[in-house]
Amino acid sequence: MLKDIKSYFPILNQEINGSPLVYLDSAATSQKPIQVIEAVKNYYELENSNVHRGVHTLGNRATDAYEGAREKVRKFINATSTKEIIFTRGTTTSINMVASGYARQNLKEGDEIVITYMEHHANLIPWQQAAKATGAVLKYIDLEADGTISLENVRKQITSNTKIVSMGMASNVMGSINPIKEVTQIAHEHGAIMVVDAAQGAPHLRIDVQDLDCDFLAFSGHKMCAPTGIGVLYGKQAILENMEPVEFGGEMIDFVGLYDATWKELPWKFEGGTPIIAGAVGLGAAIDFLEEIGLDKIAAHEHALAAYAMDQLETIDGLAIYGPRDANKRCGLVTFNLDDVHPHDVATVLDMNGIAVRAGHHCAQPLMKWLNVSATARASFYVYNDEEDIDKLVAGLRTAKEYFNDVF
């Protein structure tokens, strides 16, 4: 890891409620390193202009910066061409583009969309709506007792009627990493396409879309050190060529007549309007930052932190951890409940000690029902976290327990 990595993240150098900030909510959004903040600042100070239209020099600089970021993304996920990289607002927008575009253009009554019980609402509601609009059936792959997915259960749900399989790369609640490559293979055997929600994958795990062979893959910049408001939809070129745009307007057109128009070539036909240029530049800088550390090192760091966190958390009486106990089966997050202290109360006690965690249903209400809980608390880790942060978390939780059990 980079030496003194915390010093690259200015926001971490502050006190919250009288204690040094311990940020354990990176699965919601990550903090931004100075390299990313500077890249965005530099873009606005030296390059800002609209893209793909300027004859002037600044227009060329902005276009180079924007398209340069696209090439960095292509390399980051090993896509064959930048034609396959569409910039979006984030994972939610990316999945909605597939559900509104591909799904509604290709599904008919009786076709099946297969997802799992652990999906984030972003990989659930778009499919509910697509199913309602087309008459397709939405089916769920069941989970194992530890919250993981078995290929046996995958095979039970995918049939010759299945046209789309969509699955998160890693669960934002249980941290469990899913067997995307194997599921993709099963989907393809049945003639279905595979969509991957990589919101919790891209920040932590090396992604190779050619190796996975998935048809679409979506992720957000803000969970991987980039600014909010920039995300990516990867799609196989052959599929994108045949898919109609879902947003129409400037930037995405070729020839415009009074009653009809034709579209630009890939990927621009999917990028109507002035794109998120500064966001893309920030994402490019974030990729450079993560690559400098190395994705494999980041994954190893997080497995180690998850293992340490689970070991330490388990020393607290009455603390229940959700998801697989094997740290190598999860990315860097641990979701838990503490006795009968409600997660909101846990989060408030931690906040009073400068520790930021998430409490609630984590945008995964069906999974909460499956786990039979109404809410949980979640601590999630990233490159800038260390064992000391986890020690502070554990101390904070002991405080919460003491406060609610003994003071009252």
């Binding site: 409600h342 909101h344 408030t348 009073m352 609630g360 809410a375 003071v407 009252f408």
Partner: protein, 144 residues
């Protein structure tokens, strides 16, 4: 670590209502039923009211949530029982002002235990927990 900050939020009367909720359950003889949830955190309340001749004769709540949302529901049902619909609405307004940290009329009604929730105003993230049951009540008496 100190408990001082926490003591602004959590008072023993709040924890008493959380651990021993008043009016918990569901009314059989009910004139209005309201279900409301807080979609950002998963808190959920099921409120049953018996309103007759413009008076809240009885109130019970059920649900899931944190100490603040459940104790607030307990206190709310306690204070509105026997009040007219108009008075119940007025109390909800006073409570809303209290949550916003604004000046409120503390003379007209004996707010009793409800005053223990004053400290919530200093914890912006928790205000929605405290107001859930009051919003449900206001919606209920309006429907009725």
């Amino acid at each position: 670590m100190s408990f001082n900050n926490l003591d602004q939020l959590y008072r023993s009367v709040i924890m008493d209502h959380y651990k021993n909720p008043r009016n918990k359950g569901s009314l059989d003889d009910t004139s209005v039923t309201i279900d409301m949830n807080n979609p950002t955190c998963g808190d959920r309340i099921h409120l049953t009211l018996l309103v007759e001749d413009g008076i809240v004769k009885d109130a019970k709540f059920d649900g899931e949530g944190c100490s603040i949302s459940m104790s607030s529901a307990s206190m709310m049902t306690q204070i509105i029982k026997g009040k007219t619909v108009e008075e119940a609405n007025e109390l909800a307004e006073i409570f809303s002002q209290m949550m916003l940290g604004e000046e409120y009329d503390d003379e007209k009604y004996d707010l009793g235990d409800v005053e223990a929730l004053q400290g919530v105003a200093k914890f912006p993230a928790r205000i929605k927990c405290a107001t859930l049951s009051w919003k449900a009540m206001q919606k209920g008496v309006k429907e009725e």
